[in-house]
């Protein structure tokens, strides 16, 4: 099993406090959101309902963990769990308070949620039958797990430009989607040596593309170099300012294949010369029970490479499994006199592996209580508009309707079609691009209103040498899709072509006309049903659709602070309340700190860190430090008004906006720095004979400026003079008084400077 780093566990434990802070209003929504999303907590469409996504590393889960998940589902998520297309389990419709309870319960079972959302390495995918399938080249699971562990141990991986999806397949059939991932490894042997074919920069969703091949063969032990190399390439080239163009495939699209590959090789060479990422753990080879052979035509039962051992595929409808049904399976497995292995798949289900033939049959029969052995019934549908904020169509309801249409169909018709991949919107969570049949949700404006529609794609595939995205052939109103699919099955049955792929190629003209027939949108008076989505009593609209949760990141937080500071500035102009100026200064100082990894709510720390990162580095005028001191004095009640600081605070706020606008795609500030302050004007040099020593205490806050003055005074002889540059406000009001109270003499206070004063003192 995976060893989870302590800091990842600790973060899970801190979640309770953060939620409490959020509920008390100490933590703003915009700040809480990227935090919770990084822990796999997504807000759903209804108020105060959340989805919690676990990290089931590479789909590897043991029976005790599965049992715990069942218990937690009963306690906190209405008794069901959802299997994803990335070998994870999700809890849906959870209250915020219960996300805390869930997360703590999961930690007890050694399950974390860190990095299941946000801009980071997501669950590392792994062929669910790695190590046992008949086409298995070798077991890639240890490599996938080591990659997970490597990623979880690297704090910088949690702040990438966007998601980073890594996959390991155990054979060219690519059951882990390596050929459409950000980084994919496909098992291969050369001269008896284990290794991988490496793919990269693929991905579904917006501007999708299959991966390009980056290496024909690498020794298996070198995989982590490639993980690190791709990560560094991503960090250096990924566009952080535009989340819609931030994925690795966008780098490929921007640079072109040749330059991308060259950049990748360069990154790889750098990693190889700087790091040692080799030895992997040896693959464990535990002795298995001997099996018994059966003859079965049930497609859910797959023979393993070991004689007499079988894997059974469990696919709950729409990927949603009730805890009672899960318990049925777990109880069955617990009663066996050996321990079978469970692996989650990327098709919203899971395999039970290493079953003896007779037991495999028993389990396959058991799951027919809530599942089906027909591919069409085991189709994939994303969560869709019922819960997902980005969803357009109620994709899960569509799948249910398709299933219903086939419910009483002739078995011959029912077995014609492959699994369908359905996404409720163009973001390919239902992986519609990779399906032999793919559907994705759209909204079309007709004369009588919006109509929920689905685009029809055919011919998607993954695998070495055959990865290709599906091609779109037309768009059909959602309500007509089930009948269309049914007619498609009838058409195929009549064609006597067994391969669906060949059927589409050979019969494409017939299919096109079928699509055309179904794509007609009748007026509402004639066919009102078209204007309602499945299972919805409300007329279809895009109300409630919002931006996606997963990419909520630093820019949103910066924008929040900047707009706050601008609001406070205009509030101040309206009402002349110094509190508003304080808040304006604070928000402005805070905005860009997140770029420096500083995330704090402590005012003093915000000002200090801003000084360190933006004033000491020259982007902002030095005099702002004294403004910060005044702000703090005001906060403490030592200063009544900030009105005379308005111009400087305005400068600060504007300067922050300029820095923000100058951010490069790597989020570096490109704004020119402020010119350094001029030297002391000649007029104040007292006399040439004994040049006056001038100590620069500008920007040094009270009382440290006085402390430093005392230190300098201790270095000179009695009767000698020394000068101090002191900021306006508190420093020039306080320091001369303090120095006098120690018995020294104030010779002169020169106020003819911009923002500071010159205090000349004779030592007692």
């Amino acid at each position: 099993m995976l060893k989870i780093p302590q800091q990842v566990i600790d973060e899970g434990k801190n979640y309770r406090e953060k939620v409490a802070d959020f509920k008390k209003g100490f933590l703003e929504t915009a700040r809480f959101k990227p935090y919770r999303v990084s822990l796999g907590v997504y807000e759903q469409r209804d108020n105060d309902t959340y989805m919690l996504r676990t990290r089931i590393p590479c789909g590897v889960i043991n029976l005790n963990q599965f049992k715990k998940i069942s218990e937690l589902a009963k306690a906190y998520s209405h008794g069901y769990i959802h299997f994803t297309t990335r070998q994870d389990i999700q809890f849906h419709k959870v209250t915020l308070d219960d996300t805390v309870n869930l997360m703590e319960g999961l930690l007890e079972a050694g399950i974390v949620t860190k990095g299941t959302g946000g801009n980071t390495a997501r669950n590392v995918a792994c062929s669910p039958l790695a190590g046992v399938s008949q086409d298995d080249v070798f077991d890639v699971t240890p490599y996938a797990l080591a990659t997970t562990e490597y990623a979880l141990n690297d704090p910088t991986i949690f702040n990438l430009p966007r998601k980073f999806k890594i996959s390991y397949s155990n054979s060219p059939a690519d059951t882990a989607n390596a050929t459409i991932s950000d980084l994919g490894f496909v098992a291969k042997t050369e001269n008896g040596e284990k290794g991988f074919e490496v793919y990269g920069a693929g991905g579904l969703g917006g501007s999708p593309g299959v991966a390009v091949k980056l290496a024909d063969f690498i020794p298996a032990s070198e995989a982590l170099y490639h993980v690190q190399a791709m990560k560094e390439l991503f960090e250096n080239e990924g566009d952080r300012t535009n989340k819609h163009k931030a994925r690795i495939r966008h780098i490929l699209q921007r640079l072109g294949e040749k330059e991308f590959k060259a950049g990748y090789q360069k990154s790889l060479q750098i990693v190889k010369s700087n790091r040692s990422l080799e030895p992997f753990l040896p693959e464990g080879n535990t002795g298995k029970q001997s099996g018994d052979s059966i003859i079965s035509f049930n497609p859910l039962i797959t023979g393993q490479k070991e004689d007499g051992l079988y894997s059974v595929y469990v696919h709950p409808q729409n990927g949603n499994l009730r805890a009672e049904n899960l318990d049925l399976i777990l109880d069955f497995l617990a009663a066996l006199d050996y321990e079978p292995v469970v692996r989650l798949t990327n098709t919203q289900g899971f395999f039970v592996r290493d079953l003896k033939g007779s037991h495999a049959k028993e389990l396959a029969d058991l799951i027919l209580n809530f599942g089906s052995s027909f591919a069409i019934d085991n189709s994939v549908a994303c969560a869709g508009a019922s819960t997902c904020k980005q969803g357009l169509g109620l994709s899960q309801n569509l799948l249910s309707a398709v299933r219903e249409r086939f419910l009483n169909a002739d078995e011959n018709i029912k077995s014609q079609l492959p699994r369908i991949f359905i996404s409720g919107c163009p973001n390919s969570c239902g992986q519609h691009h990779k399906g032999e049949i793919g559907l994705y949700g759209k909204a079309k404006r007709a004369a009588d209103g919006l109509v929920p529609m689905y685009a029809i794609l055919f011919g998607g595939a993954v695998g070495v040498g055959k990865a290709v995205l599906g091609t779109e052939f037309g768009t059909i109103p959602a309500k007509k899709v089930p009948e269309f699919i049914y007619q498609l099955a009838v058409l195929k049955s009549n064609s006597d072509i067994s391969s669906f792929c060949r059927f589409v190629t050979d019969e494409i003209e017939t299919i096109k006309s079928l699509i055309e027939r179904f794509s007609v949108i009748e007026p509402e008076a004639e066919n009102p049903d078209l204007y309602y989505d499945f299972g919805s009593g409300e007329k279809f609209s895009i109300k409630g659709r919002g931006p996606g949760e997963c990419s909520a990141g630093v820019l949103d937080v910066i924008k929040l602070d900047i707009s706050n500071s601008q609001f406070y500035l205009s509030d101040f102009q309206a009402a002349r309340q110094s509190e508003k100026l304080y808040e304006a200064g604070l928000s402005a100082a805070r905005a860009l700190l997140i770029l420096k990894g500083v995330d704090t709510t402590k005012d003093r720390l915000i000002f200090n860190e801003f000084g360190k990162h933006f004033i000491d580095t020259g982007y902002v005028k030095e005099s702002i430090k004294s403004v910060f001191d005044c702000l703090l004095d005001f906060k403490l009640g030592d200063l009544d008004s900030l009105e005379n600081r308005y111009e400087e605070i305005k400068y600060l706020a504007d300067r922050v906006v300029k820095m923000y606008e100058s951010l490069s795609p790597k989020l570096e500030i490109t704004l020119p720095k402020e010119p350094r302050p001029e030297n002391l004007p000649d007029s104040v040099q007292p006399d040439a004979a004994a040049p006056l020593k001038v100590i620069d205490l500008k920007g040094v806050k009270c009382p440290i400026n006085f402390v430093k003055a005392k230190i300098e005074l201790s270095k000179i002889k009695s009767g000698e003079k020394i000068a101090f540059q002191l900021d306006d406000g508190e420093p020039i009001n306080n320091v001369p008084r303090s120095i006098q109270s120690e018995g020294h003499e104030t010779v002169k206070i020169d106020e003819n400077f911009d923002g500071y004063n010159l205090l000349i003192v004779r030592k007692n």
């Binding site: 440290i704 402390v707 005392k710 303090s738």
Partner: protein, 269 residues
């Protein structure tokens, strides 16, 4: 010696005080204080001395941290239970202030080693943070003989007392007030009688105050006075004590010329 930026900030509240200032803080940084016993009294005393920037702090203790210590011996943490007290104290101080160098003596003090310990770093001031009469008389006698200023203190139940000895031929020593240890068993130890945890904090912190004032050469010390504190009535009483010319250790004709080990090992509160 110049202060670095961190020192300026760390000691700013000292430097601001006209009675301390730059020179005073430098004196503190150059000073060496020996704390005997890292228990109820020694723990807070050592911690405040470390926070103040006392350059060298010696810690003497033979014991290991026990869970029952933690109610008052705040230099030790729960994770330190079972660790040598001097080690645990050293770790706490190192974490608090990198300017302090800690010297540890994992031992009881007795007639054979106490003067060598004084000499080891030529300590400027000694804090008696022990919990038994044998050690208190030993420390007193050793300080008188070696001419070391020290702070004596004791705490029990809700009561505490302290005095300061300065080797100036004028200050009464502990033996001027109490000729010799009481008979064994006549006075209960803390172990038997109990003590409110904060008593060490109050009295130990006063001991640290005396040490700092001595180092800085400011104010008036408790030399010539016994200060008693009753936490139940919240009364501090400052009793004037005269030097006893017949004191067996600091009097005109001292009878005690070598150190005495009264009984039992020295253990700390």
């Amino acid at each position: 010696m110049d202060f670095n930026e961190q020192q300026i900030e760390r000691y700013s509240r000292h430097i601001i005080l006209s009675e301390v200032g730059v020179e005073g803080q430098q004196k503190i940084l150059n000073s060496k204080v020996l704390v005997i016993g890292t228990g109820g009294l020694g723990a807070p005393a050592a911690m405040f001395l470390a926070a103040a920037g006392v350059g060298t702090i010696g810690l003497v203790d033979a014991d290991k941290v026990d869970l029952s210590n933690l109610q008052r011996q705040i230099i030790h943490q729960t994770k330190d239970v079972g660790k040598l007290k001097v080690k645990s104290g050293e770790e706490t101080i190192n974490e608090m202030n990198p300017d302090v160098s800690v010297v540890t003596y994992h031992s009881f003090v007795d007639s054979s080693n106490i003067l060598d310990i004084f000499k080891d770093q030529d300590y400027d001031f000694i804090i008696d943070g022990t919990d038994n009469f044998a050690a208190k008389f030993l420390i007193n006698d050793a300080c008188v003989m070696a001419k070391k200023p020290f702070s004596h203190a004791g705490i029990i139940r809700f009561n505490g007392q302290l005095t300061t000895y300065i080797p100036d031929n004028d200050t009464p020593c502990y033996r001027c007030m109490f000729k010799e240890p009481p008979p064994e068993g006549a006075v209960p130890s803390c172990r038997e009688a109990g003590v409110l945890g904060v008593m060490g904090g109050v009295i130990g912190t006063l001991q640290a105050t005396e040490a700092l004032k001595y180092i800085l050469g400011i104010g008036e010390s408790l030399a010539g006075y016994l200060l008693t504190y009753n936490a139940l009535t919240m009364e501090f009483i400052k009793i004037n004590i005269k030097k006893n010319s017949k004191c067996p250790v600091c009097g005109d004709e001292p009878a005690i010329k070598t150190l005495i080990d009264y009984n039992g090992p020295v253990c700390t509160l």
